[in-house]
Amino acid sequence: MGKKVFIVDLSLCNGCHSCHIGCKDEHVANDWSPIAKPMPEIDHFWFKLQEKVRGTVPKVKVAYRPHFCMHCDNAPCMKVCPVGAKYKRDDGLVIIDPAKCTGCRKCIEICPYDAIYFNRDLNIAQKCTGCAHLIDAGWKETRCSDNCPTLCIRMMDEEDAKDLIAQAEVLKPELGTKPRVYYLHMPKKFIAGTVFDPVADEVHIGAECTLTGGGKTYKATSDHFGDFWFEDLPDAEFSLDIKVAGKSKAFTGLDTAEADINLGDIAI
């Protein structure tokens, strides 16, 4: 059996929630023992679609991110389980055996990804199973990925996904948990604005914008709308110089750690 990975290309997510709904449809009121007992109707998210609004009017983007069990190769939840209810399958999926779990909740506390939920009615911890019951029956995809209209989420054999994995990143790599969920095109931060000439009442096209911060310098020119965009920036403090038509304007202390920055319409 090949090892499975999840490849999640965030540049293809439209936020439709079909993934989240596929997970609910499969697991609410359906008992897939021995892989999983049913998930509660609401407020439990074995699969959660996170949503973040970035920037301010009119420089706004929405970032969606599917979030679920990372099926870590070095899973903290497995280590703390006092009854050995967690096991890792040959295909890499991490499963909580509902028959063995005693509901001590230690795994819920330790999981750095907040991916495990406590089912009060059944007194067990529950989470994404990677639809192991379907994979075992011949499915090539999980419910979340089969429902995905844009192929943003895919379950793949690790062997076939090597090129993609090389370009991808995982959440909290510093913890050494070795997640099997890989994200492509994870958004970073942006600094953007519009440059215009208040006397001529025209946008400035081709203004030279130089951004410095985090030990790096970035260049951009304003486009046909007078807009400049610096995307994929790290969390750092930046300074910006804008030069156009022999005039210039400077900004300092632009800190992307808190949020994306829209400098608004800048009169030069």
């Binding site: 439209n14 936020g15 079909s18 949503e51 929405v62 429902n147 209209p149 025209e202 946008v203 709308f225």
Partner: protein
């Protein structure tokens, strides 16, 4: 392996039905009508749905046999997936079937006594008791007989049109017409062309008929845009929301493809809608319903800078002189400069100029998918017509330059149009059939009785065919006329009516001598209508009977209060004692159902055998589905068709309704009638339950959009009186020369006799915010508001401190801060028409000065006519039409204020209306039907 960029297809991955003892195929979209979309596999065990999942087209056929199409731009290829891409609520639809809000059994309002007091004043307030199907149909048959005897057949109004589940035989809307058409007729509620009012009542007068007012023909737009469009301006529409109801999520893939392949996408809308949120290169926020000012300033810029195609305009359009005079201020003394427009729209003048110049130098298409604040508000005819003029000034029909309902039309054709001789290529596409391949006309030729049985229930939307007519936007006005006054209106609103229909004055009650459209007549050899008075005589006939006022309402579309204008008034008007009996048939006890005297429980597509041709444009492939029953009927329900048959039995008309055939005979008749057995034999179709219609090998041969008109406007004229784009309309000039609300050429209308909904109004001092009421992301109009899982999305519902799930009201942080509003607060959205409670979502996705509440939430009326808790924003929309002579609704872009509801105010309401606040409520899905049942099983 390359990067994960729009893989063309992933055939060969069809999943098995794990845990199921039965798998059936269903179309899970919710647009209704004769054609469906979004095929899905439904896995069932022990009569319960386990799961609903995308149909893998190749699970029973070889993928290559579908002849998949392919497109390419900048080296990136794009093609169909091997699976369908249904919308989220379609994949969650089992929750709808098992909703705690299902109508459990036939019910009668407790204080409605057909032999005594009818208490119409208590509709919407008093509760229901269980009766049997036998009792219910006895009562209904007796009422129909009494109506016919006392007033005549036309005293019964059928409200049976609009969107619904995809069912052909068990049509959710309109089965009642099968019965009453055989008993002397009925009064038809003619569906307003909702969602595209501006095009229907406006754009038609610029480019002739067009399909529902959109540009036509619209063949092959998708491939032409892929190859030639440089700039896509999306004005108001949301490609990540509105396509879902019709065709699922294919449009999402297309927009991602165009984005990655370098097509610039500019979104002009007050909100960062769901499409702009992930696809926009540029978002230009515009104050609601001020788009006309922006468009006029763009025209001004092009005129003053000389950057439009004067040669094209000279040969392809009439009326440019009038437009030029108007923007230059020669008509009203107001020069329509970018500065002037900036004051109306909230868009900086330098941005307007930048947009005008970009547009003038790039092959530009204006993209839509219905809806949005742009096309449904007061005077929506003006931005719609101005859009036609903008496109015309740059050469409409040139490669890459179109008006596009993106992927709704213009996809590669399937083999039905060439190999099965449907001959769409040679038909008059201006009549409107280019949105799908495959037609019902072949059934009409082979089996007219079956055609009538199948088609008539679905006819209430496209055609005004009832013996007496009332436009859907004027039902309340009609009732208020009483029994001795006439209502006059221009145009019926039937979706497929000619533009000339809008020049005809209709009356309710109908008068002998009134004009009525003659179906199947009136076209010349080229299939085109000549637009002069003689043709009114040719195309219309005079009726030889008088109508009567309505006294009974039969609805299978009980959503008026949350989908049409001034909903609070709708709820109050149905209490008029002139309406002696209100019958509703519906699966869920929601919205107008609660105002009925008898409610019949009908059921969902999961509960019946049916058949559905999914042949509309906008999916990967087109399919034909044998939709076998998945689960037994829930509760004491019957299908909408079966319910009508039960009534027909009591009236001795069963045979007339059923034409003496079984459901299986209908299915076989439709399949063979549409010639599908020429592709896949009937036996194989029965065994596999679906078939995929291969893509035509000749699909590229159809010219894109109005290319032929662009090449030679004399040889290929538009269906307008002059054959050209009419920047100034010949018909409007002739029939309504003095209409200040829809003048012969489009203008900026600050206010008029119909509407006063701008920030310049005195009313804006009290109601300073402009609200947009988009088509909902998590519903289809009123459908599917009880699915628990979609409510869990951030923009799904807002759970208030009282545990109730409130409809979100988007408000910009600036406006929220000024009002002390935080995300999660219960807020009231209000104007003089009433109060709607919502949950605040403070968000940068809406511009300052505007707020947004998706329309269609389920009503939860606390004080009739005044206060709603369900978030049904249409309860407080304007009553007026689009404008005086344009019979659309104007249900977005109007004045309100939003304020936080204090604990004290809420406590006051709770104390005064404890029963209403205490209605039985499911924490996951919302209101339960049991709240309205006073006496249970009998």
């Amino acid at each position: 392996m390359s990067e994960n960029k729009n893989p063309v297809a992933t055939p060969g991955t069809a999943p098995p039905p794990v845990g199921a003892d039965k798998t059936v195929v269903k179309a899970v979209n919710l647009s209704g009508g004769i054609f469906g979309a979004c095929p899905a596999h439904v896995d069932v065990k022990d009569g319960k749905v386990i799961r609903i999942r995308p149909l893998h087209y190749d699970s029973k056929y070889d993928y290559a046999s579908f002849n998949p199409w392919e497109m390419e731009r900048n080296g990136i290829k794009f093609g169909p997936l091997s699976k369908s891409v249904p919308p989220p609520w379609g994949l969650a639809y089992k929750k709808r079937a098992y909703s705690p809000n299902r109508v459990p059994y036939p019910m009668k309002r407790v204080d409605w006594d057909p032999n005594g007091e009818r208490n119409p004043q208590n509709r919407g307030s008093s509760k229901f008791e269980r009766i049997s199907w036998d009792e219910a149909t006895d009562l209904i048959a007796a009422e129909i007989k009494r109506m016919h005897k006392e007033y005549g057949p036309l005293s019964i109004l059928l409200q049976c049109d609009g969107h619904s589940e995809s069912k052909l035989i068990h049509a959710p809307h309109g089965c009642s017409t099968l019965l009453l058409d055989k008993m002397g007729g009925f009064t038809q509620q003619v569906r307003n062309p909702d969602s595209w009012e501006g095009w229907y009542w406006g754009a038609k007068h610029v480019w002739g008929k067009g399909f529902i007012g959109n540009m036509a023909p619209a063949e092959n737009l998708v491939v032409d845009m892929t190859e030639n469009t440089e700039l896509l301006v999306v004005q108001g529409g949301d490609l990540e929301t509105t396509p879902w109801g019709f065709r699922g999520q294919f449009a999402s893939r297309l927009m991602f493809f165009w984005q990655k392949a370098g097509m610039e996408q500019v979104y002009i809308c007050p909100d960062l809608n769901y499409s702009a949120a992930v696809h926009a290169n540029k978002w230009i926020p515009v104050l609601p319903n001020t788009d006309a000012a922006l468009q006029l300033a763009i025209i001004y810029t092009w005129v003053t800078e000389g950057t439009y195609d004067k040669e094209y305009v000279a040969t392809h359009a009439v009326g440019m002189d009038k437009i030029e005079d108007y923007v230059l201020g020669k008509v009203d003394g107001v020069v329509k400069t970018p500065k002037w427009a900036a004051g109306k729209t909230g868009i900086p003048s330098y941005t307007i100029k930048a947009l005008a110049r970009r547009w003038a130098t790039r092959a530009t298409t204006v993209g839509h998918y219905f809806g949005g604040g742009y096309i449904r508000g007061p005077y929506a005819t003006e931005p719609a017509r101005l859009e036609c003029i903008l496109l015309g000034m740059q050469g409409l029909g040139k490669p890459g330059q179109h008006h596009a309902q993106i992927a709704y039309m213009g996809m590669p054709k399937n083999i039905t149009w060439d190999q099965l001789n449907y001959d769409i290529a040679n038909s008059d596409t201006s009549k409107g059939f280019q949105e799908y391949s495959g037609t019902f006309e072949t059934i009409k030729e082979k089996d007219p009785e079956l055609h009538e049985r199948i088609f008539n229930p679905h006819r209430g939307t496209p055609q005004a065919w009832g013996r007496q007519l009332i436009p859907k936007t004027l039902i309340e006005e009609a009732i208020k006329k009483g029994t001795d006054k006439y209502l006059e209106f221009w145009g019926t609103g039937g979706h497929e009516e000619e533009p000339i229909d809008q020049m005809i004055r209709y009356t309710y009650p109908a008068k002998k001598g009134d004009l009525r459209y003659t179906f199947g007549h009136g076209f010349d050899k080229a299939g085109q209508l000549q637009h002069d008075e003689r043709d009114i005589d040719k195309t219309y006939h005079k009726i030889d009977y008088d109508g009567v006022p309505i006294h009974m309402v039969w609805t299978d579309t009980p959503c008026r209060q949350t989908c049409w204008g001034d909903g609070f008034d709708i709820g109050m008007t149905i209490r008029n004692p002139q309406i002696e009996f209100v019958l509703a048939q519906h699966p869920w006890l929601e919205n107008d159902c609660i105002y009925a005297d008898i409610v019949l429980p009908t059921n969902t597509y999961l509960e019946v055998d049916d058949v559905m041709p999914c042949v509309r444009d906008g999916e990967h492939f087109q399919t034909m589905l044998n939709m076998r029953q998945a689960i037994p009927p829930v509760g004491d329900s019957k299908s909408d068709f079966e319910a009508v048959v039960e009534i027909a039995k009591k009236l001795g008309k069963e045979k007339e309704v059923t034409i003496g055939r079984t459901v299986d005979q209908y299915i076989e008749g439709v399949y063979k009638g549409m010639n599908f057995d020429k592709i896949t034999p009937w036996e194989e179709f029965q065994e596999k339950d679906y078939m995929v219609i291969p893509v035509s090998k000749n699909w590229r041969s159809l010219p894109a959009g109005l290319y032929e008109f662009y090449k030679d406007p004399v040889a290929n004229p538009l269906p307008t009186p002059t054959g050209k784009l009419e920047f100034c309309s010949t018909n409007l000039q002739k029939f309504f020369p003095n209409d200040e609300e829809r003048p012969p050429y489009p203008q900026w209308i600050e206010k008029g006799i119909t509407h006063d909904e701008r920030l310049s109004s005195d009313r804006a001092r009290t109601y300073p915010l402009l609200i947009i009421t988009n088509h909902p992301r998590w519903r289809v109009h009123a459908q599917a508001d009880d699915i628990p899982w979609t409510k869990e999305a951030m923009t799904g519902k807002v759970r208030g401190y009282d545990g109730y799930l409130y409809e979100p009201c988007w408000i910009n942080p600036q406006d929220a801060e000024a009002r002390g509003i935080k995300t999660g607060d219960i807020v009231k959205v209000f104007n003089e028409r009433g109060i709607v409670l919502c949950g605040a979502l403070v968000i940068e996705r809406i511009m300052p000065g505007a707020v947004s509440v998706d329309h269609g939430a389920r009503t939860d009326i606390i004080i009739p006519g005044k206060l709603d808790r369900g978030g049904a924003i249409n309860l407080i929309t304007p009553k007026g039409l689009t404008s005086r002579h344009a019979g659309g609704q104007a249900t977005t872009s109007f004045l309100v204020d939003v304020q936080r509801v204090s604990m004290e105010e809420m406590d006051c309401w709770r104390k005064e209306y404890p029963e209403q606040f205490g209605r039985e409520y499911d924490r996951a899905s919302g209101l339960r039907s049991s709240a309205w049942v006073e006496r249970g099983s009998k």
